[in-house]
Amino acid sequence: MTEENTPQVQPEQPEKPAKPTPKPKPKKDPRAKLYKPEKPLILASSPHFHAQATVPKIMWNVVAALVPTTVLALIYFQWAAAGIILVSVSSALIAEMLVNRIKNESFTIPDGSALITGLLLALTLPPSFSLGGAALGSVFAIVVGKHFFGGLGYNIFNPALLGRAFLQASFPVPMTTWSWPLTARYSEVDGITAATPLGLFKFEQVTSELSGLLTGNISGSLGETSAIAILVGGIYLLIRKYADWRIPTSFLLSVFAVSGVFWLISPETYPTPVFQLLSGGLMLGAFFMATDMVTSPVTAKGAWIFGAGAGFLLVIIRLFGGLPEGVMYSILLMNAFTPLINRYTRPKFFGEVIA
């Protein structure tokens, strides 16, 4: 019908000869009228919602959790702490930037992970450590500890601990030379250098006051002296779920249990489990180093094994190793086991029937 009509219309309107041609087009297919918004619709596979958690959010929360410990380090060791923290953090950031440039990738400083590495390394160094050494350790942590393995997410070992291990191997004497906090120094007679509570016990069989261990007014690394400051930050991380609670729990429980067994066997030779828990870098290690997401297992069962293994190794190193402290090596060793633990701790599927 329409085909017959159109030629009839055309002669009646000779003024508009060009117009009738575009008109029949829409009739061609009733389904041609597709939805045409200003912008085309975005296609994606579900889910289309996101919880809005991001890697930088996690990292900056870890930085926030380290604030109490950092502040206490600054109070106790003042300029020495300020210098080491500043140098360590800034060299970590510069190293990260240079690696980004060499790898020709976008700058990853905003994700906060390099800052954490620098800060954590600084907090594990003795206050009298040289600034150049701190810078070297920091660069090693970023370049070798993190980027040689492929960058964020791919490293096997906690970069800060690897940096510290490197410094420990390179400068064994400065790495084990401790000084009293400035706030405590003048009440003591034996001058500036002092052994850590763990060192005192190991080499001189002297136990330290628990109050000092709790508040941190003792000799030790910058950030490992106060158990309370670390607990405040650590518990914040656990509550916000930025750290797996199973790791510090199993780590500390395992240290308590294993050292308790030795203490029960011979209370004269071995320190009490409470002393073991509060002294040295255990608290810092358990809450901030062992819980490093990249280098700890992803499964719940794996987290228990990881923490328990680290605790066992720690006590063995502290009691029978050549060094008074074993946090660093116990965590690094467990880091190496993480891929294996992940592989063999697959959770039981929902409704899995065990044959």
Partner: protein, 451 residues
């Protein structure tokens, strides 16, 4: 208080808490959508064999007339949803993305002439076989999304004794409120539909599972159960996604875990959706085949969000227009909710039997998402309701290690998307797992063919 009501709020392990956005529509009464000018009815809207068209171009059809069926056991017939003329049986765009065969019906005039099913006079005295035939002829499928033919579900094999029926009123997807509105508006018919299905299964124990954010629905369900003198229990459930996934629901309501790779009937349970119960009632009592359903049209790009009772096969565009149209800034349209919904490229696609909602968005929660490498945080592991390790399966799928994919339970994934929802690195975990499923199946079939 009655023994039937439980005040304990139960749930399953793990899961996530997406923003709900249910307030947009949950207080607005549903609206009967005006009859659409044309409908497109896909020959396959269910799991099982596709239907063959029983009509041809030029035929006149009545509302409710059967226009497609198949002789297979697992299938479900389709019906004309408006009165009009068949314009053709051809391939048209489908919400799943591809073009599939559909029957295109155009309305002629304003009449809406129904062709009803032959139904027993009194369902309470009808035999199980009669009821099953009615449910089959009505084309009823699971309306929660999976679209499994209901008459097949209602005929479990004799070696799988069923003792519990669960009515799924969780509606855990954000935005969707059609089940919520149905429970408020059609309470009695839903409960009677549930009673009919329980009669078909010959069981006594019925549970209505409702998330506790629908307090009004829980209250009205409890009071009507009492008034109708039914022996059902209302179980309030914690508001958590994916509470409405049937395995999670059975775990929450009865503490039974469906075996991995198994079905609810393996633990003696049959789960059906609110909308399915309503459809069963309408078929068995009113003789109406499944030709319409309630669906939520919502999202921040919809001018007047609400729940529509729309004919199946109505183009999305018509549904959207009935709700005041779309904003010019619309960036995404999903069929279903934002967690599991399918994204659409064209609004001429028709609604299906299992379409529970059309969500139109102009803002996106993924807009500012940046990708980072996996930092092994394990959040995906801590939320996966099926107890999988999504980060590992997705990486195995990405690197083509399909044998290991299977070992790590890729086929247990229910694709709820909780893992990708929480991933701080913005990794498309569930999307990779879907790839893994397809590729692993392909590889298995290839090996089978070679053997």
């Amino acid at each position: 208080m009655s023994e039937r009501t439980s005040h304990k709020i139960s749930t399953f392990r793990k899961g996530v808490h997406p923003d709900e956005f249910k307030n947009l529509t949950c207080r607005i009464p549903s609206m009967d959508m005006p009859l659409p000018a044309e409908v497109f009815i896909p020959l396959q809207q269910h799991i099982g064999a596709p239907c063959e068209a029983l009509v041809a171009k030029g035929d006149m059809v009545k509302t409710g007339q059967k226009i497609g069926d198949s002789s297979a056991f697992v299938t479900s017939p389709i019906h004309a949803t408006i009165t009009g003329k068949v314009m053709g049986v051809a391939s048209y765009p489908h919400p799943l993305g591809a073009k599939v065969p559909m029957i295109h019906i155009k309305r002629e005039g304003d009449e809406d002439e129904w062709e009803l099913l032959t139904v027993p006079e009194n369902w309470e005295s009808a035999s199980r076989e009669t009821l099953q035939t009615v449910v089959r002829e009505a084309g009823i499928v699971g309306l929660g999304g999976a679209a499994f033919p209901t008459h097949v579900k209602m005929a479990p094999p004799p070696d799988k004794p069923i003792d519990h029926f669960i009515l799924n009123g969780c509606e855990c997807e954000p935005f969707l409120t059609c089940d919520h509105r149905s429970m408020l508006e059609e309470t009695d018919r839903i409960l009677k539909g549930m009673a009919i299905m329980m009669k078909m299964l010959d069981i006594k124990d019925g549970i209505v599972g409702i998330e506790s954010n629908k307090g009004d629905a829980i209250a009205i369900m409890k009071s009507r159960i009492e008034a109708l003198n039914l022996n059902f229990k209302v179980q309030s459930l914690k508001v958590k996604y994916p509470q409405g996934a049937e395995k999670m629901l059975i775990d929450a309501a009865l503490g039974r875990k469906v075996p991995a790779g198994g079905l609810p009937m393996d633990v003696g349970v049959v789960v059906n959706n609110i909308a399915t119960a309503l459809a069963v009632y309408e078929a068995v009592v009113d003789g109406k085949p499944l030709i319409q359903r309630m669906l939520t049209v919502t999202g921040d790009a919809i001018n007047k969000p609400g729940n529509l009772i729309a004919r199946i096969g109505t183009p999305f565009q018509a549904c959207v227009d009935a709700c005041g149209g779309l904003s010019d800034e619309t960036s995404q349209v999903f069929m279903g909710g934002p967690m599991m919904g399918l994204v659409q490229y064209d609004l001429q696609v028709p609604t299906l039997k299992a379409t529970s909602g059309i969500v139109c968005m102009q803002t996106s929660q993924l807009k500012n998402m940046r990708h980072y490498p996996c930092i092994q945080c394990g959040t995906c592991v801590s939320v996966c309701p099926m107890d999988l390790v999504p980060t590992r399966i997705s990486r195995l799928a990405e690197t083509g290690k399909y044998d290991e994919c299977k070992e790590w339970g890729v086929f247990n994934c229910i694709e709820c998307g909780s893992c990708a929802f929480v991933c701080p690195s913005g990794i498309p975990l569930v999307q990779w797992i879907r790839v893994g499923k397809v590729k692993t199946t392909e590889k298995q079939q290839k090996l089978k063919a070679q053997a």
